[in-house]
């Protein structure tokens, strides 16, 4: 039953992804842009231009390019075999490049979301226990204040205070000390790799470098999530079944657990949506701290009209988002049995 549901969802996701790839493939080629000129420069000779155009395959008819990209033209090596093509700018495999940049972003986001939840859930519950109280109002002001200003601004402020003024944070120049030689990646996630190797000094160093970007994201993300948890908690605490649980003499801890479980589900949905959005949207924070994440890679690809890279990024980010939504729906069904049956 469950496996069939997951299977159906995955199948639908694959169809959605294929459709998306097709749409993106044609849409970027509709752009009034000339990637060849971008590559060889405006002053290149006709021959050089033609040669570059040929080597990128852009002199072929659109349909041929399309079949080639999917690997349906008989030569193989296309998307259907898992190849995302070669970047026009770096001549590196797009898959490899995404493999290097994506873990950076995922690591940052996952850490940020875990810390955000650890803060937002208790704060939201505390606010809901006394709506309109001093604590609740303070949190409300914080939500407005934190959420209304762009994250890069907060990032810069934090750098100014913690690095420049106080000197307790590292320079915003990436995840590792520029003087260290990075080891060969195992999973691509530096935190995980350092632990696997037993290099705890590297692990702590990376955590230290991640502190400010994570703080920036937590600062931005906790506002809406606290608000969501608080709102749902207020509603749950005012609901019939919580009132009845009190009337039945259940312990206050049991009552809070009852209410929290029902307040949790919508908050998780919000977390999932924000996670998907932030995959591409963390670019500002990545740039401010020179982290080299997938967002920065995407921006670079767009600016260079690097079609294979753009397509690769869209495909990967969308797959991750769809995966997150699937997991969320499954978690939702575990939390709330009413969802599972319908």
């Amino acid at each position: 039953m469950l496996l069939r549901y997951i299977g159906r969802r995955v199948a639908v996701s694959i169809v959605q992804l294929l459709g998306l790839v097709v749409v993106v493939f044609f849409l970027i080629r509709l752009m009034p842009a000339d990637p060849v000129a971008r590559l060889v420069g405006l002053n290149a000779s006709k021959e050089a231009y033609a040669q570059a155009s040929h080597s990128l395959g852009l002199d072929q008819p659109l349909l041929t390019q399309f079949l080639q990209y999917f690997g349906l033209d008989g030569r193989g090596g296309g998307l259907l075999e898992g190849h995302l093509g070669v970047s026009w700018v770096t001549n590196g495999s797009v898959l490899t490049e995404i493999g290097q940049t994506l873990p950076v972003t995922i690591q940052l986001l996952t850490l940020s979301f875990i810390i955000t939840l650890l803060i937002a859930v208790p704060v939201g519950i505390a606010g809901a226990s006394r709506p309109g109280g001093a604590f609740d109002r303070g949190v409300f002001v914080y939500g407005l204040f934190g959420g209304s200003q762009p994250e890069f601004w907060w990032g810069l402020m934090f750098i100014f205070v913690f690095f420049f003024k106080l000197g307790i944070a590292p320079a915003p120049l990436g995840l590792v000390n520029p003087m260290d030689m990075p080891s060969e990646p195992i999973t691509g996630f530096i935190l995980l790799d350092s632990l696997l190797r037993g290099e705890f000094d590297v692990f702590l160093d990376v955590l230290w470098h991640l502190a400010l970007p994570t703080l920036t994201l937590v600062f931005i993300l906790s506002g809406p999530i606290i608000k969501m948890v608080r709102q749902n908690m207020v509603r749950a605490l005012g609901s019939d079944f919580v009132l009845y649980a009190r009337a039945a003499g259940l312990r206050e801890s049991t009552v809070t657990r009852y209410a929290f479980r029902i307040a949790l589900a919508p908050a998780l949905t919000l977390v999932g949506i924000l996670y998907g959005v932030m995959l591409g949207g963390a670019v500002l924070v990545e740039t401010v701290f020179s982290l080299g994440g997938i967002g920065q890679y995407a921006v670079r690809a767009v600016l260079a009209f690097d079609y294979p890279a753009i397509q690769g990024v869209v495909l990967v980010i969308t797959s991750i988002s769809l995966g997150i939504y699937l997991v969320l729906d499954l978690v939702y069904a575990v939390i709330d049995p009413r969802v599972a049956r319908s």
């Binding site: 009845y244 039945a248 259940l250 312990r251 009852y258 939390i335």
Partner: protein
């Protein structure tokens, strides 16, 4: 028992206490209890009450008088943002409102059990009900989780749930309303409380289930000598179960009397003092004339998505309605009454069979033909507010059918709207108002006026009185009787409120599980019900009786269990699984609707073969 029995009984908090139970010690006393939600006036204002050991007290009040708020306040609780701002509640002499929270918690659930209306909302939607019963029990009793599970099964068995082991695995949304209410009773009684507070425990339930539940509650609490405070709007419930009656109005108790005194007070009743005989118009004398509406073997089923099965909503229903006649359609919810009403107007297409309007089959009519007849066949729905567009003024609402079906000018329409408002006893100033400005009684009159706009011959009234307060209900019935006498319009009156049906209907069709099981005159059906289902339905009807209570006499005709699913229907008689008179043959032989010699139609071979006693009607078969 942790509570010392208070030997020095407190003086009664309010005047006019009953004398019956004066000697028993007070369990719960409230005085000056006041609960408000921010802005004044408070919902409960100066509420006084005393409940003695072993007493069954009824608290009667209309919706909005603060009954439910008072029920929670007696436990020291208020729904946020509400607050108990003044007063005292004493449980066996100890002040419940000022004692430490841990002590309060001990009394709630252990010494005072609570049952509320909307039981499915009161259960945690995310936990299996067995766990919930167990959680409450473990909050008050020392015991392992396994012991709590066992106790949950025992409690469900005690409140009359079949297969209790399996039911502990269910979630609240998987239970019927009646079943969920039993779970709440199981929770409330799980620690054998000394006082049970039941806040409209049967609102929204069918009469047969209501009687089952209240009987069960009465027996359980008598066995444990618990006191009960039963809060309700239904005079019938109070009159049939309680020792003492309190009446609540605007947040305080305004009357306090013994149940015997309450029952003797003059009140309306079934086929009562004859206000109906005076006002019920006799339908057209001419028996030969074609009926206004004839229903000819109509069935309707709905496919079940993702399965080859189907829901049998209506099975082979036939009846006629004469000009100026009211036919009542009664039965439990889920019996198919509403689907029949909609099939008559082709709001739902019948799967089989025909509906004839003045001899003309409706099913074969095209769009234009149907539109012509639409103005003659109207419907009034249950919820008066939902049936009106909230953004339209009453003038716009009532003008709409006139625009569609007549060629009146704007001024003509305005004049007709005034006439319509006068017909339903509303001032013409109402035309400028919007639905939110009116109460549900007035809104239902607007719905009736809209149905009357194009002078129809026939109106389906689908539970038109069920959301109305008792006073509005009575005046709406009077209005319908007057309209029928003046306009000669026919009604199909769908309802499960037998009192109203008995006042307004000429004939009654009783439906059970998609079938009509008995059709007869109101006199026949109410005075001498024949079909076992009709008998049980009337036996469940809690009408105030001046001399005795339901609990004082032995009730023979009662149904077991709940209405089965209309997906897997029984092979033989549909009632067989619940019928007290079922024999082997009933399980195999499908029942046909057959005309008895006294003119009524019946679907029970045992009644027709005169095996059940009670009447000896010679029978002839329906052609």
């Amino acid at each position: 028992m942790t509570m010392p029995l208070d030997a020095t009984r407190q003086a009664p908090a309010s005047a006019g206490q009953s004398r019956e139970a004066d000697l028993a010690p007070a369990i719960l006393e409230a005085s000056g209890l006041t609960v408000g939600y921010g802005a004044p006036p408070p919902i409960v204002a100066g509420f006084d009450l005393t409940i003695r050991r072993g007493e069954f007290v009824g608290l009667l009040g209309e919706s909005g008088c603060g009954k439910s708020t008072a029920a929670y306040a007696l436990l020291g609780l208020a729904r946020p943002p509400g607050r108990i701002s003044a007063g005292r509640v004493a449980f066996k002499g100890q002040d419940l409102l000022t004692m430490p929270a841990a002590r309060q918690r001990e009394i709630r659930g252990k010494h005072i059990g609570l049952i509320v209306q909307n039981p499915r909302g009161a259960l945690n939607p995310m936990l299996r009900v067995g766990r919930q019963i167990g959680n409450v029990w473990r909050a008050h009793n020392a015991g392992s989780a396994t012991r709590a599970e066992e106790h949950a099964v025992e409690m469900l068995k005690l409140v009359g749930i079949n297969d209790p082991k399996r039911r502990t695995e269910a979630f609240a949304h998987e239970l019927s309303g009646g079943m969920a209410q039993r779970v709440l009773i199981a929770i409330a009684l799980s620690s054998t409380p000394e006082l049970l507070i039941a806040d409209e425990p049967t609102s929204g339930l069918d009469v047969t289930i209501q009687a089952q539940l209240l009987d069960q509650m009465w027996q359980s609490t008598r066995r444990t000598h618990s006191s009960v405070l039963l809060i309700t709007q239904e005079t019938g419930i109070v009159a049939n179960y309680c020792d003492r009656v309190l009446v609540m109005r605007e947040g305080r108790i305004v009357e306090d009397m013994t149940a015997a005194a309450y029952r003797r007070a003059p009140r309306r009743s079934l086929l009562g003092a004859g206000n109906k005989a005076k006002t019920l118009a006799t339908p057209g004398e001419d028996d030969q004339a074609a009926p206004v509406l004839a229903v000819d073997h109509v069935s309707r089923f709905f496919p079940v998505p993702g399965s080859t099965k189907r829901v049998q909503a209506v099975s082979d229903v036939s009846f006629d309605i004469a000009a100026g006649e009211t036919l009542g359609l009664v039965g439990e919810s889920g019996s198919g009454k509403t689907t029949v009403g909609r099939c008559l107007l082709r709001l739902i297409e019948p799967s089989e069979g025909r509906v004839l309007y003045r001899g003309e089959p409706l099913n074969t009519l095209g769009k234009t033909g149907m539109r012509r007849i639409r103005s003659k066949l109207q419907i009034v729905l249950q919820d008066p507010y939902d049936s009106l567009d909230p953004r339209w003024s009453i003038l716009q609402t009532l003008s709409e059918p006139l625009k569609l079906h007549t060629d009146l000018s704007g001024a003509g329409r305005a004049k007709r709207v005034e006439e319509l408002l006068a017909q339903v006893d509303l001032p013409k100033t109402v035309a400028a108002l919007r639905p939110r400005d009116l109460g549900s009684g007035a809104l239902q009159r607007i719905n009736i006026a809209r149905a009357l706009a194009c002078a129809p011959d026939f109106i389906v009234l689908d539970e038109p009185t069920s959301v109305l307060a008792p006073a509005a209900r009575t005046s709406l019935v009077e209005l319908l009787l007057r309209l029928q006498a003046e306009l000669g319009v026919s009604f199909l009156f769908i309802s499960h409120d037998l009192t109203t049906v008995s006042q307004i209907c000429h004939r009654i069709a009783v439906m059970y599980l998609s079938q009509v099981v008995e059709v007869g005159t109101t006199e026949q059906v109410f005075r001498d019900p024949q079909h076992p289902y009709t008998r049980a339905l009337l036996a469940s009807h809690l009408d105030p009786h001046p001399e005795e209570r339901r609990v004082d006499r032995a009730v023979q005709e009662r149904l077991a269990g709940e209405i089965p699913s209309p997906i897997d229907l029984p092979k033989g008689c549909y009632l067989q699984s619940r019928c007290p008179h079922a024999v082997e043959r009933c399980a195999t032989e499908p029942q046909k609707l057959v005309r008895a010699a006294d003119g009524r139609m019946l679907r029970c071979w045992r009644v027709l073969a005169d095996e059940l006693g009670g009447s000896d009607i010679p029978l002839v078969h329906d052609a």
